[in-house]
Each structure stands twice: as C-alpha cells, then as structure tokens.
Symmetry: C2
Subunit: 207 residues, 2 copies
C-alpha cells in the first residue's frame, strides 16, 4: 500500500471508507477529514457502533431477518399472528412493511430475488427454508410481497409453483394489490400505497 | 431514541453514520446493511481504522498539517527546503500540492479562509503563527497558494499586509501563476495546471 497521505492512520481510514458502496477515495478523504475536525468522541462512537453492530447482529433462525437473538423480536412476539407469513426480498423491506402498521403477521426474508443475469438462482435464496417452514408450521397464508419487477415476478411465480407442488390444502397464497407502481423497487414506494396494497391483497394466480 | 429497527445495534450504527456530511438516514441504512452482508472483518477494520485515526492523529506544531508526531514528516524531512513556505487553506491542499511533485519546501496550513459571512476572521486561522514563524525562522519566501476565490484573495491580501507590516527585508512573497481557473476551489484543479502554476509563481502585488 502506497502511503499517499502524511499519515498511515489517515491512509487506512480512507482505504476502509472507500470500500463502502458509492464512496470513492475523494469522498472517503472528505469524510475522514470531517471526523478529524470534530470531537474525538464522534469518530470513536461511529467506529465502535459499526464494530458492535457487526459483531452483535445475526440472522433470525425462523424468518432470516436481522436479529440480536436466536429468534427475532417479531417472531418471538406472542401478539403477532404466526399463521400469516409475509415473504420479502430483504431486511429493508421488513422495515418498510412494519412502518405501514397494516401487518400483524410474521416475515420470511429471502435475501434477494431470482436473477439469472446476476447469477442468483433459487438455491442462493431462503426459498427451501420457506417451503420447510410452511410444511411444518400451522401457516394458513403466505403473502408474496416482492417488488413488482421482472425479478420479483419471476421469484413470486417460482415460490408459488413450489408451494403448489407441496400440496398444502389449507394454504392460501396472496400478493399485495397492484396499487404498487410497476417497475419500481419496493423500498421506494410510499407508506400509504404500500399499506393500502397490503389491505387489498388478493389470491395469487398464474399471471 | 425511538427504536425504528429490529435491532438497537443497527439503530446506533445508522444514527452514527447519518451524522457524516452528505449521509442521510436512507444512505446510512444502506451502508449498515451492506456491512452486515460482508465478512465481519470488514466492519471491524473500518470501525477500528476510524477510532485509531482519530486517536492517533494530531496537528504538526510547526505547519499545522495533520501528523502522528509532534513535527510532521514534511517538516522533519532534512531534504525539504525550510526557507520556502507554501501557505495553504487546509490539509487536502497539502496533498494536492504534494501530488504535483513540483514543490520541495514546507507548508503552513491556515485551517480555512477569511470569510466574514461565515464568521471566520483572521484570529480563527493560523495566521498569527505564520507571522511568528516567518519572524523567527530563516524563511526567504512565502508562497500564498490559496484558492483564487473571493475568500482566497481576501486572505492572501490580509497575510501580505501583515508580512509587509512585519518589515522583513530578506522576504519575498509570491503566489502561484494565475493559470488557475478563477472562481474554482483549489482542490478541484488538475495536477498539471496546479504544478505549472507553482513553477510560474510570481511576486505578490497589491492586486
């Protein structure tokens, strides 16, 4: 590593910051110099919070949402309806649905969407664990709340087929009403539209 | 603090990240979730580098550039010409001038520019320490390498007057040739133009 700056400590901080997505070396340097101008406690609080977060957070054994415990607060909440499972792409989408305050069931976080172009097949996602969960737990409804994009629709359809093949007579598969703007990512949908679309959810059909 | 997320560790990391300039809560969340997806060593390396940087870096007693030692590597380098002092606005500008490889003297970092609008007067900057330095060290040339902006010109002129008032017969005050594009910040100038403008520096005159 070439020492570009007067200080190898600054060099390291800039190098580490520039590993973050969307942060180039110029931005990294600006952030590092900002922290140097501020009270030392700020950089220490930021650095320690990142270390603590990464060391303390794992994934819920049941829904694969982030959690500090074996079972996440939502899965272990007695007031949540365990018979309704909302399938989402990622952790951010759990936050989005929670904010609507329109959903009292539990989640299943896939960890992505099927995307052959990006080399993401069904086996890289938490789909097998969803099927297992639906087989062995008293689940009566699965809501497929994936983004209304090509990858989302492909993944919806794949999961729907797997659930059909599992032949679970008491199970309903639904999806949020297509009040969602087509082609947009779920995370950029406003809370009202997303909440409304959950209330209006309807049975999943083959297209 | 309201716990917006499933984890207070994530909440803390997002809050700390969003204190950085230009980082909103949405970006902070994206960065935190990115770190959660990566190997734990990455978040630890980033966090520790920020803590180490902030704890380890102080300011050079002579030039006020960042340093890990009482005197920075440039000031303590026997091969640098201590009789030529390049006055710059900030730490980033030292890096910019160093990259041109056209300057073998030492620096004086002001820590800003005079800007009455922003409440920055001469006393908030390292100007008195510059005058003291020029008075007591065998300095034959001061290069005023501030941005060719209104604040830069005001500061240039103020320092020039202070140096005149100090009546130091052997001292020359210069500035980089105005090949610099007017109205732009020094940090956005390309290395070639900046290097050239240092070679072409000429005596400072009253406008």
């Amino acid at each position: 590593m070439e020492i570009e700056f007067a200080s190898s400590l600054l060099e390291s901080a800039v190098t580490e910051l520039s590993r973050l997505p969307g942060v180039g070396r110029k931005t990294a340097l600006r952030l590092a110099l900002y922290l140097l101008r501020r009270d030392p406690s700020e950089a220490v609080a930021l650095g320690q919070s990142l270390i603590d977060m990464r060391r303390g957070i794992r994934y819920c054994r049941s829904c694969h949402n982030i959690s500090e415990t074996d079972l996440c607060p939502i899965c272990s909440d007695a007031a949540r309806d365990k018979s309704v499972v909302c399938v989402v792409e990622n952790v951010k989408d759990v936050l989005m649905v929670e904010r609507t305050r329109q959903f009292n069931g539990v989640y299943h976080v896939l960890g992505g969407l099927i995307s052959p172009v990006d080399g993401v097949g069904p086996d890289s996602l938490e789909i097998a664990s969803l099927i297992e969960r639906v087989r062995h737990e008293p689940i009566r409804e699965v809501i497929l709340a994936l983004s209304p994009t090509m990858e989302g629709d492909t993944t919806n359809f794949y999961i729907f087929r797997r659930l059909q093949a599992a032949e679970l007579p008491g199970l309903t598969v639904t999806r949020p009403a297509r009040g969602l703007a087509l082609g947009n990512d779920l995370e950029y949908t406003d809370e009202l539209t997303l909440g409304r679309s959950l209330i209006d959810r309807r049975p999943f059909e083959n297209r």
